[in-house]
Amino acid sequence: MKKTHVKTNDVIFQPVTKVVAFIIIIYSLHLFFSGHYTPGGGFIGGLMTAAAFVLLLLAFDVKTVEKTLNVDYIKMTATGLLIAVLTGLGSFFYNVPFLTQTFSYVDIPLLGKTALATAVLFDLGVYLVVIGVTMTIIQTIGETE
């Protein structure tokens, strides 16, 4: 193959990615936390965080992103599954069926009266599993020569 003289020049793409990735991650966290009362939740939040990571993978090379994020996605998936199972098992301590959830209103200093539900912990498990699975699939396909 003839060597092309067109040097790759990402001087527009990379700075925009640096700003946009933060916006996507913050919005995905917003979706994750608002899942109880408005559309959103663990699945779509995790998918969006994974989308931000994929954007970083598109703009920079795989090694740079691995060095920056430094996450083992398979361990992340395992952690998510463990959290989901543990929140389910926690209901056994209160003599209620498996995966029973509860909530209460707590006064947090800065946020005021906030509803804290144990379903958020289960959602955290879903969130981590979705990020882990998506990134594992994409990185495995991307690294195959």
Partner: protein, 122 residues
């Protein structure tokens, strides 16, 4: 006050829809990939931004609901749509898509040729 707001909402949404329509005509009628991309990335960006602005004004004045996600959407679109247009155009140029035969200048081609000549001398 209400009449002004009604007028503004209608104006933004209609102008946005019109701009999207013009972008669509541009994509159909223009001769090569660069001019089509020019039409699509500029007109459609401004069109969608003004539709979103109209939506934001409607929910703010009629429901009293400040929807910051729409503002975020406007900012996000303003930042990303031109960059995506640029990347598509650059990918088209680097993979050798011909420009329209009535185009009069191609500065990047001259620049690339000059660089190639220089590197072959070296």
């Amino acid at each position: 006050m209400s009449v002004i707001v009604d007028f503004l909402i209608g104006f933004f949404i209609l102008v946005g829809a019109l701009l999207c329509l013009i972008a669509m005509f541009g994509v159909i009628r223009l001769p090569d990939v660069y001019t089509r991309n020019h039409a699509a990335s500029k007109a459609a960006t401004l069109g969608v931004m003004s539709i979103l602005l109209g939506t934001f004004l409607y929910f703010y004045f009629y429901e009293g609901h400040f929807n910051s996600r729409v503002i975020l959407g406007i900012v996000f679109l303003f930042m990303t749509a031109p960059v995506s247009g640029h990347l598509i155009n650059r990918a088209a140029y680097n993979s050798g898509v011909k420009i329209w035969d009535k185009s009069v200048r191609d500065d990047l081609k001259e620049y690339n040729q000059k660089k190639r000549n220089k590197s072959s001398i070296d």
